[in-house]
Symmetry: C2
Subunit: 232 residues, 2 copies
């Protein structure tokens, strides 16, 4: 019975890692679609989001079965419940990538991103891809050191996001308001994508150590807010 | 043993309902702080958010205890797991109200909201307050009819949000880019607040009926996106 139980847990962990790969791919392709004004690529991201959603549903079913049939306690219980939370986080990351793809599609045949911000968005796309692939490694290997790296990647995303924000709100902003609105929303999507990756990593750390890392859950966003002087 | 179990479930439900009252109050006061440029009221919302977070933590502890000690199955299991998800949704609603309060504080002594948008924001605040109070009724009474009403309230929020969006992106937008950015983010905070309330209501419906309502989980945002022609 214990063997079957651990096989079930392994299946859940594998599904979670799969989800991180799908989310990485989604955000990477959404960023390319955005920069290249590639409407077909944008459409493929939008369609593929259903794959991520269905993984989350499957993890829910596996977890419910485990809870009902195996009735885990202590750390095992923590693992199962936390896995369901992680799958919700990663599903949300997929949604955010889909939102990026939708902006790309909306602006076709133009790119939604002004020339002077292209390198910033390319970098945000790369950080997003890296951060969620690392999250997969953290889940697969219960790798606490990698979880700490993710915090540094998230700081990098915060800096890029802040740069975006400062540019859009500066007196030298050379584009129209509609572009400012698009960039504001896009920046928030990438920012929240990274936030969710940090949440997932923190949950793995909690399973392994029983601790929440440097900040209490939820105050991560506050730290950003205070750094930018505004709620972003 | 069954009696103790049902008392535990009742305590969880009561905590959830309490959270909805706190979230309603938070969003109502944040909206007032925003419209009146009331920095003290804004600060009180920001401080009080910790109350909402601590309720979520308590629900987690109660739920874990229940799962470990009572080992529920079937519908009971569904209720416990779903309660944890609902508490995360309501916690997030509290965070969104805090973000609104932060914008209010940032812009003090001005109001962040231009004159011609005051009535729109006042209405969004009222819809937000109503929708989360109704969510509390849905949880307390397993009230499916009220859950349907919430969908209508959410449609009302979508219309207000769309109005905001159209005004900000129109060629007649008479304010600076920084104001456009603030309004864009504020609109998204109210929008997501209502989305989370709908999620909570849908979860209660699922507990009671086993069904997800009119739309598959997650496609609610897509329906909005399609209506506005953009990802908002």
């Amino acid at each position: 019975m214990r063997k079957a139980y651990h096989e079930e847990l392994d299946r859940i962990a594998e599904s979670l890692v799969e989800m991180t790969h799908l989310a990485a791919s989604a955000m990477s392709r959404a960023t390319t679609a955005l920069l290249d004004a590639d409407v077909h690529l944008a459409d493929s991201v939008i369609t593929a989001d259903a794959e991520i959603d269905s993984r989350r549903e499957r993890i829910d079913l596996l977890s419910f079965d485990l809870l009902a049939l195996q009735q885990p306690v202590a750390t095992d219980l923590r693992v199962v419940v936390t896995s369901m939370r992680m799958s919700s986080d990663i599903e949300r990351m997929g949604d955010l990538a889909r939102h990026v793809a939708k902006v790309a599609r909306l602006r076709y045949p133009e790119s939604a991103v002004p020339a002077e911000l292209r390198s910033t968005f390319r970098e945000m796309g790369q950080v997003a891809e890296l951060i969620v692939e690392k999250t997969g490694s953290v889940i697969a290997g219960r790798d606490i050191a990698a979880a700490r790296e993710i915090e540094a990647d998230d700081d990098a995303m915060d800096r890029l996001h802040r740069h975006l924000f400062e540019h859009v709100t500066s007196s030298e902003w050379p584009h129209d308001t509609e572009t400012a609105v698009d960039i504001t929303l896009l920046g928030r999507y990438y920012e929240r994508f990274a936030d969710h990756a940090v949440s997932v990593a923190e949950r793995v750390v909690w399973i392994v150590t029983g601790e929440w890392g440097n900040e209490a859950n939820g105050s991560h966003e506050d730290a950003e807010d205070d750094a930018t002087g505004r709620a972003v």
